[in-house]
Subunit: 181 residues, 4 copies
């Protein structure tokens, strides 16, 4: 849903033409992960946001771990694959025991239908909050991963930096874990 994505380790599953055509036909299923650091009782202490540069506009913006569910791939596998792709191999994410997301995010190509927007496609994302315990090493196009307290993450400035309207998703995530200021 960003205009620049970390190249997928399994490229070529769909050609650009086939993907564009498919995007015009059906909603595309995504998984998204919001990395967090937690204390011993599971309370969220920090939220991890990726900083990326947009290929089209050159602007910097913030986003979550995000990627398509491939044909034949399970939701769990897609979530783990995208977490490893965006956070590196030593992040040690603790995936949830259930694949029921805390929210279902709907991105429409036309702005304004929902707070969320993706000019490329109609996308529907299963969004999870994912504790990570290891070292995160963002790869390729992601410049850095910033750890923020819930208070800092929920500041109007930071929420506005999140691409595609994901500020509303971040507030939902913080509310879900009881950490929305």
């Amino acid at each position: 849903m960003s205009s620049v994505r970390t190249p997928d380790p399994n490229p070529g599953w769909l050609s650009d033409i086939a993907l564009d055509e498919t995007r015009s036909r059906v909603p595309i299923l995504y998984v998204e992960g919001i990395p967090v650091r937690v204390d011993a009782t599971g309370r969220v202490e920090h939220v991890g946001l990726l900083l990326r540069g947009s290929a089209t506009t050159g602007a910097m913006n913030r986003t979550f771990v995000s990627g398509r569910v491939m044909h034949g791939e399970s939701v769990r596998d897609a979530l783990l694959r995208n977490l490893e792709k965006d956070l590196g191999p030593t992040a040690f994410p603790q995936l949830p025991t259930t694949i029921v997301p805390f929210t279902v995010a709907e991105y429409f190509p036309l702005p304004g239908v929902t707070p969320l927007h993706d000019p490329r496609q109609h996308a529907v994302a299963l969004v999870h909050v994912v504790p990570v315990t290891g070292d995160c090493a963002p790869r390729q196009d992601a410049l850095e991963l910033t750890w923020l307290t819930p208070e800092d993450a929920a500041s109007p400035e930071m929420l506005a930096e999140l691409e595609g309207g994901r500020g509303s998703l971040l507030k939902q995530a913080l509310a879900h874990v009881g950490a929305l200021p």
Copy 2:
């Protein structure tokens, strides 16, 4: 996910050829609804199962309300549209206040990957339990809607009649509402 579907009121969104092609490329997003009758405290008293005849095998089987999310359509609208399509205009379904499903069902074309199976496609369904208060009049290919107590619905015979492995989904639904015997 059944081999025979109630024709959609908005046909032709995708031609059969385009749909087949798309199904080979990406997982297809569905919504499913399990109709229930509840008492004044919300407790599930009866579960509604649709009886359908299979076009390919001629066999009768049971299923839920189910249908694709169309390009540009919200999950809520897709759920309401499919409930009205399968239960008729006077069912008065009480849609959930959240679109977070009680489970995410993954159907793979190859049998055995999960308990769920759809020979046509890789489908991912957001599944909801939906109380209905009005009269249900199943339309077209659905022969009838049968209301069963949780005990009867969870009997091995009935679970085995559910198409595509949905017996496992029905047990999940009953467990979710605290009515799994």
Copy 3:
């Protein structure tokens, strides 16, 4: 959790002395209900807030439907009883099919432990969003029920009027149903 409560239709289950003593010993279990009006697809259009006068301070404040779970009473029965007590007999609340709440609210007698605070006790509340379809007639000490759009309900002024820190709960509820502005 308000200092003035609608008298319970089954008074005397515990004497004031016994209740005070119990409150000093264990957390007290509550249910809370946030009444909402929804459209045909389940989307929340209005949130209902009760206006009450405080017996101790004389100030007016806003609250949700709220009450204790009695000894021997099921959570479902407690939720329905308190909805009928606070909204009247013709509100026709649609209780959830699951008793899993959207949040567990923890009120401590000491302010500042959590955003929530109840000077009388340590209370733990199971909080539900409850669509109501009928006419609400707040009873006794509740002066009125006001229906607000999610935008108006989430305004800083309104959030500050909610007693015991329930502004944070209301934001959680709106986030849960995808209606937090």
Copy 4:
């Protein structure tokens, strides 16, 4: 809810007399944890059940991690305290980011009201599935912790060994994580 409990590290919060009196007045709030081992994608591979001997009957039975929420204690702290009490200090439980349980379990002193039963009291438990990554060393009255596959855990024999009707809870837990056979 078992007749024999591991002594609490903070004994004497309530005398036996005060606790008995309190139990006759209000529902008592518990937390329960079902320990699981998960794979890298979060899928549950094994469920941990505690084996205990009953002081009253001498019979052996199975149970979960379970304990009261103390006055003034947060739900998160109570869950961690009880996990450490029953699994030892090196279990390294991964507590959930949200305190919303997968189910709310209601135990009544009178058998048959729900599948769950506790002769001592009316108890309401917030139940969580908790991945543990370390070594579990059950303490004191718990004889052992047995790791079972979901298939073995859901066998009728094992479900019947779970005390207080917790077989129904275990099925709910397995359904929640998508592992009910």
